[in-house]
């Protein structure tokens, strides 16, 4: 493992916040990955991505090359689709937005390479409704790429062609779930689909489909251009290749986003990059990767931020964008906020999520308003356990239960005080 300090995803970005244009992108070595990929067979491209140990950056950390490999070898069943999940709606997360606003051609290049690797002839970017700047940047870049022959028929003189569409989502958290996204893209309700069949076999309009996160796709050109060995060498992780865009929000001195080697320890991110806690604020805990990950506390800060290392701590890296909790904020209120969000964003398909989350949110609200009882605390703990992956249809409710379950452990006293004092101590 080396620490080169290279930032392949963000190094081209302009200081003025304007997106990198086509000429600028090409001058900086852009679309070289695509040129290299078209000289390889699709299978070789997939192999490169597999060797690079690129893991899905949407939060689940599934090996990207392996996912691509699930697309059936025979092309008998009509068109295949490559879909970019740009419905970034995880609370506290804005990493994909930076990539789309700052360097849209990087994403497009990744899409073309990915589509070539899986044999897709049509690609979609499924973009969050609220991302207006991303939409402008992508529209401009897609037009440029079509004009320059990076999209459309016979890309760069090859026999490969790709149609790329930008789809603006109607804006729900559930649309970020891979299969909910596919239903939404088909014009149906954004409810999740049962797997198997998995999208690489039965996806968009029933056809083989790959759904990848924006950041994941942005890594692809660099893997192909610089080789998988180089990509692996960018990482400090044993299991995951490349760099990762980490972020921190909350009462830290320098909230922001940083592209760092995958596997950078939490403490480094929090203190070296985010500058530590604001004066007068004491660190109490953090959500390492968006709202649907479990709280980590002081004792976990030496853990590396990658997809494997946080599991022993009882959490997940998720999107890698940290939300910091300090002592000026009521943890019950904070968790209540999150659960109100998840209850609202439930699609209403399965019972535990549709009925359980509003019940939890209601009890947390009661605690905050001084109406909580000991029985509420017991039910909260029980509900947090019940909303487990086998119980629910998709990962939304288990993800919502993670911050609650961990908060009940790490901030047990705070919850108890709400009941014994009959009020929120922070109010």
């Amino acid at each position: 493992m080396t620490m080169s300090g290279e930032k392949p995803l963000t190094s081209r970005m302009r200081r003025d916040g304007q997106p990198v244009g086509l000429d600028e992108y090409v001058r900086a070595g852009g679309y070289q990955g695509l040129r290299a990929a078209l000289k390889l067979s699709p299978r070789q491209v997939t192999e490169q991505v597999t060797q690079a140990e690129l893991k899905g950056r949407g939060g689940a950390g599934f090996p990207t090359g392996k996912k691509w490999g699930f697309v059936p070898a025979d092309g008998a069943r009509g068109p295949r689709y490559f879909v970019v999940n740009a419905d970034e709606m995880e609370p506290g997360t804005m990493k994909d937005r930076i990539l789309m606003e700052g360097d849209p051609h990087q994403l497009i290049e990744g899409i073309v390479i990915g589509s070539y690797a899986v044999g897709a002839s049509i690609a979609y970017i499924f973009l969050r409704l609220a991302y207006h700047a991303s939409e402008r940047a992508l529209r401009q870049a897609i037009a440029e790429a079509y004009a320059a022959g990076y999209l459309g028929r016979n890309i760069l003189g090859s026999s490969f062609g790709l149609e790329l569409h930008l789809h603006i989502s109607a804006g729900r958290y559930m649309c970020g779930e891979e299969t909910g996204l596919l239903n939404a893209l088909e014009g149906r309700r954004a409810t999740p689909r049962f797997k198997p069949p998995h999208p690489p076999v039965v996806g968009l309009w029933g056809k083989p489909t790959i759904v990848n996160n924006v950041e994941t796709v942005c890594c692809v050109p660099h893997i192909v251009r610089d080789g998988w060995e180089h990509f692996r060498s960018l990482s400090r992780s044993d299991s995951d290749g490349g760099t990762k865009i980490y972020g921190a929000s909350g009462r830290v001195k320098k909230p922001g986003l940083w592209e760092l080697p995958m596997g950078t320890p939490l403490r480094e991110i929090l203190f070296d990059h985010a500058g530590g806690m604001l004066e007068g604020c004491r660190f109490r805990g953090l959500l390492p990767g968006g709202a649907s990950t479990a709280f980590l506390v002081e004792e976990h800060l030496d853990a590396r931020m990658d997809f494997a290392s946080l599991q022993p701590c009882g959490s997940r890296m998720g999107t890698g964008t940290i939300i910091v909790l300090d002592d000026k904020v009521c943890p019950v209120g904070a968790v209540g906020n999150l659960l109100a969000f998840f209850a609202r964003e439930s699609c209403g398909w399965c019972t535990p999520c549709r009925e359980g989350l509003p019940w939890i949110a209601g009890m947390l609200r009661a605690l905050e308003e001084g109406r909580g009882t000991q029985q509420d605390l017991d039910i909260l703990a029980e509900q947090a356990d019940l909303l487990a992956p086998a119980t629910t249809f998709c990962a939304l409710a288990p993800g919502a239960a993670d911050p609650l379950r961990s908060a009940l452990v790490h901030f047990a006293d705070d919850f108890r005080r709400h009941v014994t004092e009959g009020r929120c101590p922070w109010r």
Binding site: T351, P352, G362, M363
Partner: protein, 909 residues
């Protein structure tokens, strides 16, 4: 079959099913909501959790939803595992968080799947202090009440309405815990199958609005197995009665016929039984020319006097049972017995019978229709003529796309995944019709023309399948293209289906359908021929034989008869007013036996009050030739009795016999079978009256029936014995056998812990499969597999020249074209007013506009109708609603003309 281990005990189960189906089929009680045996698994409710273990050493196991888990050889399962039990209790707790707990005032109470499952899972204490969510309800029209607060969001309603039945005006709206099932706005549900929401809903969101007008709990209903009488499909039903009134009709499972469902005409068409037009007393026309109520013996004496001379003829009915028709035939003699159908209807029934018996192609039950993978419909508007056939065809349209899903190893029961693969795709589905139909959305290709041209297109397809079938001459390019596509698709299908029937009014079309089906069979295809019959016993009447109404008229005109006995029939609906006037005036004595007053009873000299289908036992033969038995649901009251009993008594009154020839129902069935070989199997379709289980009859009332001793307390405080029923093994009582009855005798679905109709699971060999002992009914006609019958090939000649300005075809309406259902509310309010549908260009050329009142003249008789513009009608062709009030007895299709009758107020279709 494979072996799975439940609680470490081995069980043999069918391979390829879901674990939930396997558990339920084995008789285990696994609670569920979103799963439905006809609509399968989607995994939404999370109620059916069980535990599976990797092997016998795995003690931890993992929770799975049994509906989403395929069974595997050697699988180890625990339903009673404490973790699974605990989770199931929590799921019901979640579902009940917002449920109003209003069971005492809810119409679903006592047959509520949610009640059953809540009790089964042991959830008893309410722990939440949160307020319940509430919704605004909608007015969904006359059939279905909407009470959204009770909803547990199982999604079964919208999956039935949209996915299964193809409806578009109802669905799921909203999000998170505000998910709402309804329409975009108040309004009548458009689907022909909306009433099934009442049965599909596991709780009281959708309840029967008509039942609510005379409400009775399920446990207080007297019920018996019955057959729907509102079309020729023969759907199985369970009518329920209380206090001498018919209260509701529900679907009775028959895996071969209607499965779990019913159409709205079948469910809500029973109003005539309780209706104001009901004939309840014997009547004789007095000296003042008015019908007067007279005691039964006097009426019989009057009628007997007129029959005695031997100059009586009998006019039977395709809506009366075999037994009633046979009783009439026995009374007057076979030569003086007439079928009671118009010449056209008799010819149509005879043609259907001939096509199904003389040719090599087997007919299709509704379940066989669902299994076909390519369809052509020739001229039949099935959703209006035989709606449940339309529902079956919707399933059959998905057959070929589902094969793609199966090839991806997606099990048949994984409903959502199958729909993702198939999308909205459908297999070869061809519709040849006289105008647009509500199935057109499924059509691969639609061809619209006159019945004659449709028949010629069908024949052209037959010729392309089997060159020895003659080719029609002078075929249009459209027809040729259609025929080519049909022939190609049907030839490459595994099981092609040809659909036609009596609704078109065209024997030629039925023959063309048979030609095509026979050509397919002869070319080695496993083809099916499905022909709709006009009425509930059209096929029985055709099998029994007898001349049609024109033959009856000839007999009267010749003076060979003076007395006419009309059985359960309104002749006015079957002939023009002129013919009706002539026939009723030629009859010196007109004796009508019917349950409902109509034009013929108004002309009668003597009316005998007949039992309706719920007060009688009988046999009906449906369009596939399946003989099915219906039983009394409630005892006939007062003077009312079964038609066959009246006819037996008439035989005595006429001096033919000393005692009625048939002491009980079994006697007339035995006589029927012995006299007419076609019906030799009819006695075997249900157990005889002497059948007993553990020494007891089968009770029509539940063991929870209330008020038995109070029911008649206003008349007498004595504990009267229940009415006797000498005709069947069913008793008007709570007492009797508690065992599961044979399939033809199931009066209701109930099992311990299963008070809702979901209890049907316990009556089936496997869930969704046939009933224990086989699905009831028996097909009494068979194809001739070695048939060398020549093709009919009627369309091989060039079309007949135009003989009028306008070719008028019949248009059927689910509500209106069947007179009994239209005789009372709620159906009466939904029937169209007389109209003439015309192509806009034809109307413009005649100077006619939408809503204008015109006089349409058919066969020399004029009818006042409102103009409706329908551009799906081919030019030169118009349509009149079939059989509706004001347009009865018109012989269609036929040539007609239209003339302006001044500016009208406007009519509606």
């Amino acid at each position: 079959m494979i072996t799975i281990y439940i609680h470490n005990e081995p069980h043999r189960v069918k391979a390829g099913t879901s674990l939930l189906e396997a558990c339920l089929s084995l008789g285990f009680n696994v609670p569920y909501f979103c799963w439905h045996p006809a609509m399968h698994s989607v995994g939404a409710c999370r109620q059916c959790a069980v535990k599976v273990f990797r092997d016998e050493n795995d003690t931890a196991g993992s929770i799975v939803m049994s509906c989403m888990m395929p069974v595997r050889e050697g699988m180890r399962v625990s339903i009673d595992d404490p973790e699974a039990v605990r989770l199931r209790a929590h799921v019901v707790e979640w579902l009940m968080l917002n449920h109003p707990h209003d069971c005492p005032v809810c119409d679903e109470g006592g047959e509520c799947h949610l009640q059953d499952m809540t009790v089964m899972t042991g959830h008893t204490v309410r722990r939440t202090r949160l307020p319940k969510r509430t919704y605004r309800n909608q007015d969904l029209g006359p059939f279905v009440t909407h009470e959204m607060n009770r909803c547990i969001q199982c999604y079964r309603c919208e999956r039935f309405y949209r996915d299964y039945a193809g409806g578009r005006d109802f669905g799921v709206l909203g999000w998170h815990d505000g998910v709402y099932f309804g329409r975009s706005a108040n309004g009548k549900l458009e689907s022909e199958f909306s009433g099934n929401l009442v049965e599909v809903c596991p709780t009281g969101v959708f309840t029967d609005k008509i039942l609510a007008g005379h409400y009775t709990r399920k446990w207080d209903l007297t019920t018996a197995p019955s057959i729907c009488i509102h079309c020729g499909a023969g759907c199985n039903t369970i009518p329920g009665a209380r206090y001498g009134q018919l209260r509701r009709i529900r679907a009775r499972f028959n895996g071969q016929v209607n499965g779990y469902f019913l159409c709205d005409r079948g469910r809500y068409g029973y109003g005539f039984v309780n209706g104001p037009r009901r004939v309840r007393e014997p009547m004789v026309r007095g000296a003042d020319g008015r019908l007067q109520v007279v005691a039964g013996p006097e009426t019989l004496a009057f009628a007997g006097e007129h029959i005695r001379g031997g100059r009586a003829i009998g006019i039977g009915s395709p809506r009366a049972s075999l037994e009633a028709n046979f009783a009439l035939r026995s009374l007057v003699g076979p030569e003086r017995f007439f079928q009671g159908s118009s010449p056209r209807d008799s010819a149509l029934s005879a043609a259907i019978l001939e096509c199904l018996t003389r040719g090599p192609t087997p007919t299709a039950s509704l379940s066989e229709v669902e299994a076909c993978d390519a369809v052509v419909i020739l001229g039949e508007d099935v959703l209006n003529v035989a709606p449940m056939l339309g529902l079956a065809l919707r399933q059959c349209a998905r057959r070929q796309p589902l094969e793609t899903a199966a090839s991806l190893n997606i099990p048949y029961w994984l409903d959502a995944a199958n729909r993702e693969v198939t999308q909205d795709g459908h297999g070869p589905f061809f519709i040849a019709s006289t105008a647009a139909t509500r199935l057109d959305g499924l059509a691969t290709s639609a061809y619209r023309a006159s019945p004659q041209d449709l028949a010629r297109a069908g024949l052209a397809a037959a010729h392309r399948v089997d060159a020895s079938c003659p080719e029609p001459a002078e075929l249009s390019q459209d027809a040729q293209a259609f025929a080519r596509a049909v022939a190609e698709a049907l030839k490459s299908a595994r099981r092609p289906l040809v659909v036609a029937g009596a609704g078109s009014g065209s024997v030629e079309l039925i023959h063309a359908a048979a030609d095509l089906a026979w050509a397919l069979t002869r070319s080695g295809k496993d083809a099916r021929l499905c022909l709709t019959a006009a009425e509930c016993n059209s096929m029985g009447a055709a099998l029994m034989g007898g001349g049609d109404l024109s033959a009856a008229m000839e007999t009267l005109r010749s003076g060979a008869a003076e007395t006419v006995i009309v059985l359960e029939n309104d002749l006015r609906g079957r002939m023009s007013r002129r013919d009706f006037d002539e026939m009723t005036s030629l009859a010196r004595c007109l004796i009508v036996i019917d349950h409902t007053g109509q034009a013929t009873t108004e002309r009668a000299h003597c009316v005998l009050p007949a039992a309706s289908f719920v007060e009688a036992d009988g046999t009906l033969v449906n369009n596939e030739g399946r003989a099915q038995r219906f039983f009394k649901v409630l005892p006939a009251t007062g003077a009312i009795q079964e038609s066959w009993r009246w006819l037996g008594e008439l035989a005595v009154a006429a001096g033919r016999r000393l005692a009625p020839p048939w002491p009980d129902f079994d006697a007339i069935v035995a006589d029927l079978a012995a006299t007419l070989p076609a019906f030799k199997d009819v006695p075997a379709i249900a157990p005889p009256a002497g059948f007993r289980q553990v020494g007891g009859k089968i009770p029509r009332q539940s063991h929870r029936y209330s008020g038995r001793t109070a029911e008649a307390a206003h008349l007498s405080v004595f504990d009267n014995p229940p009415p006797a029923d000498p005709d069947s093994p069913l008793a008007f009582s709570m007492e009797g056998s508690g065992q599961e009855p044979p399939p033809a005798l199931i009066p209701r679905y109930w099992a311990p812990g299963w008070n809702s109709d979901a209890a049907v699971n316990k009556f089936q060999i496997e869930v969704g499969g046939p009933l224990h002992g086989g699905d009831p009914g028996r097909r009494i006609i068979q194809p001739d597999s070695a048939s060398s019958a020549p093709y009919f090939a009627e369309g091989s000649q060039p079309p007949a020249p135009k003989a009028g300005p306008l070719w008028v075809v019949p248009r059927h309406h689910i509500f209106g074209s069947e007179p009994l259902s239209a005789a009372a509310q709620p159906i009466a309010g939904l029937c169209p007013k007389p109209y003439l549908a015309m192509n806009g260009r034809d109307a413009a050329a005649a100077g006619l506009g939408r809503g204008q009142t015109v006089e349409v003249s058919i066969g020399g008789v004029g009818y006042s109708v409102a103009v409706v513009i329908d551009d799906s009608l081919p030019p030169g062709q118009a349509a009149l609603p079939a059989g509706i009030e004001g347009l009865e007895g018109i012989d269609l299709p036929g040539w007609g003309s239209v003339a302006r009758a001044g500016q009208g107020e406007g009519g509606r279709p």
